[in-house]
């Protein structure tokens, strides 16, 4: 069983890493999802695969029976799944929004927040090289109009 888990971990890790190297944000997001699942398997293996009996103490018994599953990794994995659900949902929305705003999901095309040409020895040159599509400042006139 441990060998199988190790193989699954390796496969997911390799797949996730490969996808994250792609120049498409969607693939990066899926790659991150695979990576987090690889880690979930690692947690499962770290808790030792002991058995399949639910970890409940039988009436009258003082301790768990032999071959009882370790409940802690399951709780940890459940938490990790919930967190990766939230993060993945958010990253997919971000990719979608980026696609709508830029018309592409190539990370190399996203340069809006990047610094202008460096090194800039001259402040005026640096200011001129700033991307022009900044959010317009909330001018007093605009605020009064609103």
């Amino acid at each position: 069983m441990d060998e199988l888990l190790a193989l699954a971990f390796g496969a997911l890790l390799a797949g996730g890493t490969y996808l994250m190297l792609a120049r498409t944000l969607l693939r990066v997001a899926v790659g991150l999802l695979l990576l987090s699942n690889a880690v979930n398997i690692a947690i499962f293996a770290a808790g030792r695969v002991l058995g399949r009996i639910p970890p409940l103490v039988e009436p009258g018994a003082q301790a768990l029976a032999a071959g009882t599953a370790n409940p802690l990794p399951q709780a940890l994995i459940l938490t990790a799944i919930v967190i990766s659900f939230g993060l993945t949902a958010f990253s997919l929305v971000l990719v979608h929004a980026a696609h709508r705003a830029y018309g592409t999901v190539d990370p190399d095309a996203l340069r809006e927040a990047e610094p202008p040409g460096l090194p800039a020895a001259d402040p005026a040159a640096a200011a001129a090289a700033e991307p022009p599509t900044r959010r317009p400042p909330p001018t007093p006139a605009a605020r009064e109009a609103a």
Binding site: V82, G86, A89, F90, V93, H96
Partner: protein
Amino acid sequence: MTGSLILRTSARLLLVTCVLLSVFILVRGHNEPGGGFIGGLIGALGVIVYALAHGRARTLRMLRADPKSMLGVGLLLALASGALPPLLGISPLLTHQWGDLVLGPVALPLGTTLLFDIGVYLTVAGFALAVVLPFAEE
């Protein structure tokens, strides 16, 4: 109005099925596999299919409550389930209380865990909808 006639008709059926199934799974979580998290996701799934077919505005009208409010109410319920026992002086923080609600001949086993699960249900459904609905086509 988006989506074909088939999608629109089946979306309504799916919505009802998903919401009923999600409530069943929520309650089943008391003693069997199930619970608020997957219940909330299944419920949100039904609503998202509905939004695919009918657009965002109509979905929001159908929901009556905004997903953001659902999220907030869910968090409040979950917080209350942990905070009520110590506030009432029964037991320490984050412990749960169980008991039977006796209604004539039936005794319904209830616990503050159910309150927590309902809170999780609303939070998860609210989060999923708040994330997805803004991207539904009109």
